[in-house]
Amino acid sequence: MSKRNRLQSLLDSSIADPSDFPQRELGHLDSSLTCKICREFYRGPVSLSCGHCFCSLCIRNSMTSKQECPVCRKCANEGQIRPVAALEEIVESWKAARALVLTLATANGESSRLTPEESISAIAGPSTPNKRRKLVSEDGLIDCPICHTFVPFDAINMHIDSGCKSTSTPSKPKQKAEWSKVFSKRSKDSAQESDPDRRLPKLNYHTMKEKQIRELLSQAELSTAGDKNALTARHQQWTILYNSNQDRSASQRQDLERIRKELKKWEAEGKARKVDIDDTDEYQRLHKQDFIELIERARRSRFHSHKPQSSRGREGGSPIEEPEVSEVTDPIEVD
């Protein structure tokens, strides 16, 4: 691990958290758009027959160990998984609007009420670097709310309709090409699969020969190293990753190379959790100051947030004492 410690970088990376919002209602809205499993904004949201929604990847992973809804425990299986396109759209719009809403909300919560003119200037004005862009700039370009590229104002609808693909002004020949694409068979432009929405089927690996699984893997351009168990696990996870990607709308999908990378990451994760620290006690001593700072900072930001909160039940010193634990029981694997 790098010199910069992990906790620090995590806190610095400003994780979007519902508590960012001073207003309780906005916090609720924010958290209602997050998956209950990974606690992040839904990625490729799907619903089960009980109506509960999760990221496609999260619920597919969860189903490998338990065929039930994690929220209500009703029986569930892969067959019930249905993409919820509307929710995906809502989440994407909210993600795009979140920073803006947050600025408005904090401005509203902190200072006195803004007049309508002022609130407009809060949108367009240079309050934060993020918000510096005006909605329509002088040269008639507009910031696409979805992909954040600048698109001619007249072409914005077409740009969005095309799934943020066309970035230039639609010229006649291009328009023609677009139209012909609409009228001709859609499958033509997707080179890799006959059906772009295809899902990989669930296989019964027990009845398959090692060679067959290996073949499947090499067809998908994946590593064929390892014994049958490793191959099975790899193909199983590949299926999960692939299908969950398919549950996203076409504009949100990642290319296969990216999914292959993710699979690799997952495999490393299985072997991983290597922490390259030789002397843990020394490490703890060394970073004690960081802990104290982090806690201090977390506290400060807590008190600065204008959430009406009751006082915490625990006394001030308690989190600090934890890193001090004298006996380090965790077996840190040193590779």
Partner: protein
């Protein structure tokens, strides 16, 4: 995939280097989820419970405290627990044990193991450290005497005075510096 490794990563011999480089993204989703939980715990006001990673180097090992709820026999007593997250968290439950000796029908007095369904077969990926700690807190006041891990404690649960004596015989308060 093999080709990819060889083109991007340094030569095969330096496997350690690879481990370094990826340690941040490896387990990325788990770390992210854990840090989100940490954030929630710090931001929310849940009286009587707290938890924090034991060391900065390893987000998978946490230490926590639970205070017995008022109007229960455990009122005012603080228990130190350790939480250990598996690499496939939250799809598998964390391992939790009491570090402070806890005389309770569903807790192993010496080892600190806990018998609680949501930590075993009833685990769900939507549970979190916070929900676990709250469950443990309520378990203290409402034990499940049907499946005791400490049969003696289950037997005398209905005799509060006797129970309290036993409880206090084994209880050791947490020191100021967090050690036992």
């Amino acid at each position: 995939m093999e080709q990819l490794t060889s083109s991007l990563a340094p030569p095969r011999t330096s496997t350690k280097q690879t481990a370094y480089g990826t340690s941040q993204d490896v387990a990325g989703s788990v770390t992210k989820r854990l840090s989100s939980e940490l954030m929630t715990l710090m931001m929310s006001s849940s009286p009587g419970i707290s938890a924090f990673p034991k060391s900065d180097a390893n987000l998978f090992e946490w230490a926590g405290t639970i205070e017995g709820a008022s109007a229960t026999i455990y009122a005012g007593l603080r228990f130190k627990i350790s939480i250990s997250f598996p690499p496939n968290y939250p799809y598998a439950a964390p391992t939790i044990k009491f570090d402070t000796p806890c005389y309770h029908p569903n807790v192993d007095l010496t080892g600190g193991a806990i018998c609680l369904d949501i930590l075993q077969d009833k685990w769900s990926a939507v549970y979190s450290v916070q929900t676990i700690l709250l469950s443990l807190q309520s378990l203290l006041g409402e034990p499940n005497n049907a499946s005791p891990l400490n049969p003696d404690a289950a037997r005398i649960w209905d005799k509060p005075e006797e129970f309290k004596t036993q409880l206090m015989r084994f209880y050791r308060p947490i020191n100021e510096d967090g050690s036992l």
